[in-house]
Each structure stands twice: as structure tokens, then as C-alpha cells.
Symmetry: C2
Subunit: 267 residues, 2 copies
């Protein structure tokens, strides 16, 4: 059972993990970042508590901590209770969601483990936008994708904004980096995956036709502007497209991913 502890002063050192989140912790993967995983709001905090990440503590207004009581029953961590005003002072901005939890990072699965347990995975190159990355994980979880493999230029899925936009799904869809790039794709192929590069190019296969062919698939997705690198496109087994209306820019990467995930989920 979590210990409920009332915090009256913003300067209380027991809540230092939550201090000035918009600055010091802005990029947990960068020098100076503390590297904590931060969950915001009851839905995401619940998902963090259910994940393998070692939770350090919670900070919230009393109503939100009360709401989480069933989830905290088996958890031996401090739950700091404070007013919205004191919380805002600690965190450095006003929090709409009323509750936060911090956890240490957990060891990542090896790419090989992730490949062994999946039939559909996403492989990303250059997806540096935190919101797109978070949205992609949300879509992956909803549509049954087994894991996400991160090539170069991707941001850290555990960054606070990605965690939030993913609705906490970065905490349950396994992910792992792939190196070297793109030669590491050989490991994906040797695990029985067909590597399919999503691209608007007209000489590509229609998504539906690819899905109809069956088999394990690794969907290779690039960022919205530049798209996939030539090296990544060359390393893929097949190029695949979502048919689109003339003269329209490509879909957002997380949306294109959702459409592709859906097509394979329905197969």
C-alpha cells in the first residue's frame, strides 16, 4: 500500500523528482536530463503502475490520489498529496491532470526478443517529433502491433510529451533501437519479416495487396518531410503505398502508420 504523505511546502526535498519538469527533464536522453519516466494524469499513471517500470513516487491533488487507491494497493511507494497551487510551484507549470508519477527507466528488450514475439512491427527512421512518436505508439497498441524498432533520428519514446500523447502506450508496446543502420535490418529479415517501406512513390505496391500476400511484416516508416532515406528504401524488401488523392501531401506519419497497422490487423 502506497504511503500517503501531505506536502505543504513547494521546497520540500522529498518531491525533488518532480521539480521544474519543463526545464531539467525536458530531454531525459540528453546530458543533464535526469532520465526519469514521467506519467501525467490518472490514465497514464495507472498504465505506469501496471508496467515493468520501477515507480519511485506519485504527486497529486487528493482527489486524484484517491481515485488511484485501487491501483496503489499493492505498491510500496510514497504518494505525495498537495494542493494544485503547490504542485504548480514544484513542477513549474499548471498541471491540468492533477497527478504525476515518476519511475526509473527499465532495461529495454533486445531487438531479437521483440522480433521473436511479433507478427507485425514498425521500424522507424527519423521520427524525431515527440507527438508523432507518441501518437504512433498509441496507434500501435490499439491495432495490435507487437513492437517498435527505432532507427536513427528518432526521439526517445519515454520523453514526457511522448508518454502523454501515447496515452501511456509507450510503456506497454515494447521498443528497441536497431544498429547499425540500415544493415541491422538483416536481423529483422532473418527473423522471417518482410521489410515493407511505406512511401508515396507510384511504383510501389498497394498496401492492401501487400497485406493480402500474408506473412510477417516490418513496416518501415520515415518522417513526414524528408521521408525515408535512400539507404533505408534500398534495404527494404518492398515499397508499399497508401493510395491517395491527387495533389495531397502525404498523411502524417502516425496516421499513415495507423492505416497500415489496421490493414495488417484485418488481414
Amino acid at each position: 500500500m502506497a504511503q500517503r504523505i501531505h506536502v505543504e511546502q513547494a521546497g520540500d526535498p522529498r518531491v525533488d523528482d518532480f521539480r521544474e519538469l519543463s526545464t531539467a527533464d525536458r530531454r531525459p536522453d540528453r546530458p543533464g536530463g535526469r532520465g526519469f519516466v514521467i506519467a501525467e494524469g490518472t490514465v497514464v499513471v495507472r498504465r505506469l503502475l501496471a508496467s515493468g517500470y520501477p515507480v519511485r513516487s506519485l504527486l497529486g491533488v487528493e482527489r486524484r490520489i484517491d481515485e488511484l487507491a485501487p491501483d496503489l494497493a499493492g505498491v510500496d511507494v510514497p504518494a505525495y498529496i498537495s494542493s494544485a497551487e503547490v504542485m504548480a510551484e514544484i513542477v513549474g507549470f499548471h498541471l491540468n491532470r492533477g497527478v504525476l508519477a515518476v519511475a526509473d527507466r527499465a532495461p529495454r528488450p533486445a531487438v531479437a526478443d521483440l522480433l521473436r514475439t511479433s507478427n507485425v512491427i514498425a521500424v522507424l527512421e527519423g521520427v524525431g517529433d515527440h507527438e508523432n512518436l507518441g501518437a504512433l505508439f498509441r496507434n500501435a497498441a490499439a491495432l495490435g502491433v507487437g513492437g517498435v524498432v527505432l532507427g536513427p533520428g528518432c526521439s526517445d519514446p519515454l520523453y514526457r510529451r511522448s508518454v502523454r500523447v501515447s496515452m501511456g502506450n509507450v510503456l506497454r508496446v515494447p521498443f528497441a533501437p536497431l544498429e547499425p543502420w540500415p544493415d541491422g535490418l538483416a536481423l529483422v529479415k532473418s527473423n522471417g519479416f518482410r521489410v515493407a517501406a511505406l512511401t508515396p512513390r507510384a511504383d510501389s505496391v498497394r498496401l492492401r495487396d501487400l497485406a493480402a500476400a500474408g506473412g510477417k511484416v516490418a513496416l518501415l516508416l520515415g518522417s513526414e518531410g524528408p521521408g525515408l532515406s535512400e539507404e533505408a528504401l534500398s534495404a527494404a524488401d518492398v515499397a508499399v503505398r497508401i493510395p491517395m488523392a491527387d495533389g495531397v501531401d502525404s498523411l502524417n506519419v502516425a496516421t499513415a502508420a495507423a492505416v497500415a497497422f489496421y490493414e495488417f490487423a484485418e488481414r
Copy 2:
């Protein structure tokens, strides 16, 4: 040919249409809003110039106005040229995209016209989030949806942020409000559309099965949190779902829409 006019002073009254965009024009549909349609960035400005909206003027740094020269050849409006600093002072914030255009609102098509020319439309209830609404129009344009019908609680697609997130596609996918609600859906049905309410309910038809049935379809979509109202669900001909993994929140409304639009585009 647009007239190129250099503006040196932020106080110049000729650029009043662009003044303090983040405040006065925040909600063009609200009292005090000036109601202009504002396009940001070359891609969206180009789309505004190609639309039926009567463009009043442009404001941009010289490089961006130069880029737009071919698009401005047949257009008789002033193109104000300024430095990034003076532009920021006029607009009230720093503009990454370097060019803006303003247009007057144009008369909307009647719902009946929109229904006559489409096979797949979206009908929205309670989609008040500007970014979701903009993203939905982008997806509609990419995936060949003929129009968007707005029920109650939807925000104005022509609000600046929706225009931007849609990549200007709110300017080319026709939209119209539907009243009364939900009784106005009778008009949609009488035009040969099957009204299909997207909902996660388990007793609904799989999206793929609905698409396979053929015919004209009106996809009824609600906002992410509350979903569709009971009234709207009751007024629909059929409830339809995107099959999702257990325990996952529904997809974002624009993403769910994209998946459904894709399924009907592939039919």
C-alpha cells in the same frame, strides 16, 4: 499580378488585417473576431490562392513572396514585404513559416449540394478540438472524402490553427453545418447515404464488413472523450467499429476517421 509593397513600420495601417493574430482573431467565429481566413506558410498560402476564398492581401519576408511569384501572377492583391522582426511585431508572435495571407470567408455550399456530389462523407458531432478537426480535413482530402458535415459542438474549420494543421485542406474539402440535430440526418439518408456511427461498442459491425456491403456512406464521428451522443447513435442506420486490441483507449478521432476513410477508398 500582385503588387509588391515594402512595409518598414509595424504600425503601418495597411497591414492591419495581420495585427495581433493570437488575440483578436483567436476565434473568428466569436464576437470580436474579424472572421478572416488566415493561411500560414507557402504550402497553405498556395492552397488559399487556389481556393474560392477572396484573398485580401499577403504579408511575408521577401524570400517567401518570391517563392510564391508564379502563384501570384494572376492575382490582383497587395503582397506586403517585411523583415521577420517587423512581421513578428505586427502579428504578435514569431512566425516560423515566413508568410501569411488573409482572405474573406466565402459562402458555404449547402449541405444538399455537398451530398449530391459525394459517395463518402464525414458527419461530425462535438469535434471541438481545432487540431483534431484540421487533421481530419487533411485525412479527408488525402483519402478522397467528398465533404464534411458539421453537427453541434464542432469548432470552426476556418480557425487559423485548423487551417494550418489541415495543411490548407479545409479550403478544398467542402463543409457545411447540419441543422436541426440529429433530425437533419434525414436529409443525408434521403440522398442515398447509409449513416454509419463509428463507436467502439462490441455489438457494432466491423468496418471492413460495412465497406464490403457497398453504397454511399456517411461516417458519423464523435469526439474522443464522450463519443457520440445517444441521440446521434439512435439516428444512425448502423453502428460500426474498428477492431481494437483489448484494454486500449479508442483512437484519436482524426486517426479513426483516416482508417475508416481508407477502408471506403479501397472498397
